[in-house]
């Protein structure tokens, strides 16, 4: 298959197909988005004006038969952080782009100032249409994705921006429709890239792969061998594994309880940020945990039978074997309330706000999905509003009412709720704003978990746990050894995980394969074999990952970032976190070692 790049110019509403340049042959997903952004976007440009670009790229193996390989990357200059951004998501668009042989979609320019029209980009086999779709503007996204599937019965992949993005809000995410098109909740959420789409007057990118073919590996036999080995490892692993064991009992942690299996674990570990990062434990953690969702789904299935819409063991993209996604049902009807409710969302909209009512948390998530917001940043923003006294901590109904103000174009409170934690905090005079490079911290407190704190500080993405997931390596020994993580310098740990993560983000594989591959030699070997066989060449994972990071660091340096931006907020250094009563005490020079000389 000869891969293409689709370049869309929103200044003159033209498009052109380009052959994938030879130097991009092995690049996909985050590797491609960050390379193109670093090369083609002026780091000093305004992120919401014509010189920024949105780059969309399916992972390398998207559309193939490799398990859990259908992730999509979206990149650009972030309106939230001012630096480079890559956000990725599941959904169905990546696989469809892969089958069409499209390695990247670049959206550049913007319609002339004063334009009131909105557009959608419709991508089909060897075809692209930039269509005026004003009727899609200002719609809630649950309604929008339903309408688009009515307009396009081929069941296309849909990504785009909601109301928040159309208003250029700093926390606007890029939504994606789920497999069943029942929820727009497959978000490339972080960093405000939805606003970049909105600035280009693009509401949706619709991908129809009719006539497309799954991408073929260069070495089919080796690919198949690797695929089987990897699939076997994934389905056997207790974290990533199948839903039930041979006796019919719950087996896989992720398939049964979703990522929200972590709520109770982090709570016991004392690292669950509670009440805007005041404590590491939440007394109502169990009520909004993955176990609680599992129990509710079973309860509503028993009560409503086939009419029940709650799910666990749900795949976020076709071909995923880990199936960590879920659908939270309304308890009184069994109908779909929101899907998924991830750990990060349950934490941000629940624990961080001390909201212990599962349905309030699910409703907040649903509103975020409907208006086009990143849930983590939305929770961080609401936490700051609570810190400022606008809403009481624990007031779920109050938080819902505030977030719903976003639907009102004239509501200043609504604009504030969509502005991100840092912006809202500054407006409200809050001094405890948990953010780095303008992006809100996620669901692991850096004081007891210092390695993740180093990642938050140093990743080019702003505070981002997925950029280098060091939690597991700190709690447990590194694969293959009983290693005391005190021996490993936090800088080395963070850099290693950041590079490995960057590689995974390029492959189309979901990051959660890390639970398996970092613990099971066959899993790692099988995964690596699928990549090498697909490309027909051996890839050095570390070098590949570091190349991505170098491109991102280079962009950020040219955008004006220095080591001074690689710091956690002051209160993490000064306020001990109960129950362990520790502060973040990694010295600045240790933090700076992560990328010294890179």
């Amino acid at each position: 298959m000869a891969y293409k790049i689709l370049r869309v110019n929103m200044s003159d509403l033209s498009h052109k197909w380009e052959d994938l340049p030879a130097e991009y042959e092995t690049l996909a997903g985050r590797a491609l988005t960050s390379t193109i952004v670093s090369k083609e976007v002026d780091p000093m440009c305004h992120p919401l004006r014509e010189f920024n670009k949105i780059v969309i790229s399916p992972g390398l193996l998207a559309g193939t038969s490799a398990p859990s390989s259908g992730r999509l990357s979206v990149g650009g200059k972030s309106p939230l952080t001012g630096g480079i951004k890559e956000a990725n998501a599941g959904g169905i668009t990546a696989g469809k782009l892969g089958c069409l042989g499209i390695r990247g979609v670049i959206i550049e320019g913007m319609p002339p100032a004063g334009t009131s029209d909105w557009y959608s980009i419709i991508i089909q086999k060897d075809k692209c249409e930039i269509k005026k779709t004003n009727e899609y503007a200002n719609m809630g996204l649950y309604d929008l994705i339903t309408k688009i599937w009515q307009d396009y019965p081929s069941k296309p992949g849909i990504i785009g921006c909601g109301i928040a993005g159309q208003r250029l809000s700093p926390n606007a995410g890029v939504f994606g429709n789920n497999v069943e098109n029942t929820d727009p909740g497959r978000y490339a959420g972080r960093g405000g890239l939805g606003g970049v789409l909105g600035s280009k007057r693009v509401i949706s990118v619709i991908t129809d792969d009719t006539g497309g073919e799954p991408p073929q590996p260069k070495d089919k036999e080796k690919f198949e061998e690797g695929r089987k080995m990897f699939t076997k490892a994934l389905t056997a692993h207790p974290v990533t594994g199948k839903l039930k064991d041979d006796d019919g009992n719950p087996y896989g942690g992720l398939s049964n309880y979703g990522t929200n299996v972590l709520m109770n674990i982090l709570n016991e570990a004392g690292g669950l940020p509670t009440k805007n990062f005041r404590s590491g434990r939440f007394e109502n953690a169990a009520k909004i945990s993955g176990e609680a969702v599992h129990e509710l789904v079973d309860k509503t299935k028993e009560k409503f039978g086939d009419a029940a819409e709650g799910r666990y063991g749900h795949a976020c993209h076709p071909g995923c074997v880990m199936m960590c996604s879920n659908v939270v049902p309304y308890e009184n009807t069994g109908k779909h309330q929101v899907g998924p409710l991830e750990y990060e969302s349950a934490w941000a909209l629940g624990t961080n706000l001390t909201i212990g009512d599962l349905h309030d948390v699910a409703e907040l998530n649903r509103i975020c999905n409907d208006v086009g917001l990143d849930t983590i940043e939305a929770g961080g923003t609401l936490g700051v509003l609570m810190e400022a006294g606008l809403i009481a901590f624990g007031d779920g109904k109050g938080a819902i009412a505030a977030l719903k103000e976003i639907y009102n174009d004239n509501s200043a409170l609504g604009r504030l709720c969509a502005s991100g934690a840092t912006n809202a905090g500054k407006v409200l005079g809050v001094s405890r704003i948990p953010s780095v490079k303008g992006q809100s911290l996620p669901a692991y407190d850096p004081r007891p978990i210092r390695g993740i704190g180093v990642t938050y500080a140093t990743t080019p993405m702003g505070a981002d746990h997925t950029a280098g997931y060091t939690i597991a390596a700190e709690i447990l020994g590194i694969k293959g050894e009983v290693t005391d993580p005190r021996i490993l310098e936090k800088a080395d740990l963070s850099r290693t995980f950041q590079a490995t993560t960057a590689f995974i983000d390029a492959t189309g594989y979901c990051l959660f394969i890390a639970f398996c591959v970092l613990d099971d030699d066959n899993g790692m070997a099988g995964m690596a074999q699928t990549i090498n066989a697909f490309l027909g060449k051996e890839i050095d994972i570390g070098a590949y990952g570091m190349a991505i990071l170098k491109a991102e660091l280079d962009f950020n340096r040219r955008a004006g970032f220095t080591e001074k931006d690689d710091r956690l907020p002051e209160f993490f250094l000064k306020e001990p976190l109960p129950p362990h009563d520790v502060t973040f005490d990694v010295a600045d020079d240790e933090v700076d070692k992560v990328y010294k000389g890179v």
């Binding site: 719950p250 049964n256 109770n264 674990i265 016991e268 129990e295 709690i475 447990l476 290693t483 613990d519």
Partner: protein, 94 residues
């Protein structure tokens, strides 16, 4: 007494437990008991353990249990990394 918090299938050790509430089993303290001995006392298999914590710090089979400790037991699958046969070494900073 040992405050034992139970998760996943281990909740069944307490009657009428449910996932939305804390499931706590108060156990007598026995001097000199290790984590492994404690787990066996509950008629559980150490090989069935996921991440387990004592006072918020990761437990291993040899960690001593003291009077007043808070022990959390998660079954295998509820963890960051699988360690099918034993609990990893404690790190004083989680």
């Amino acid at each position: 007494m040992i405050e034992t918090r139970l998760y996943g299938k281990f909740r069944s050790l307490v009657s009428n437990s449910c996932a939305t509430e804390e499931t706590i089993l108060m156990c007598d303290y026995k001097e000199g008991e290790t984590f492994e001995m404690f787990v066996k006392r509950l008629d559980l298999d150490v090989n069935d353990m996921g991440n387990c914590f004592i006072n918020g710090k990761l437990a291993n089979n040899y960690t001593a249990i003291y009077n007043g400790d808070r022990v959390a037991l998660f079954p295998i699958g509820m963890q960051f990394f699988a360690n099918v046969s034993h609990i990893q070494r404690l790190n004083e900073h989680v």
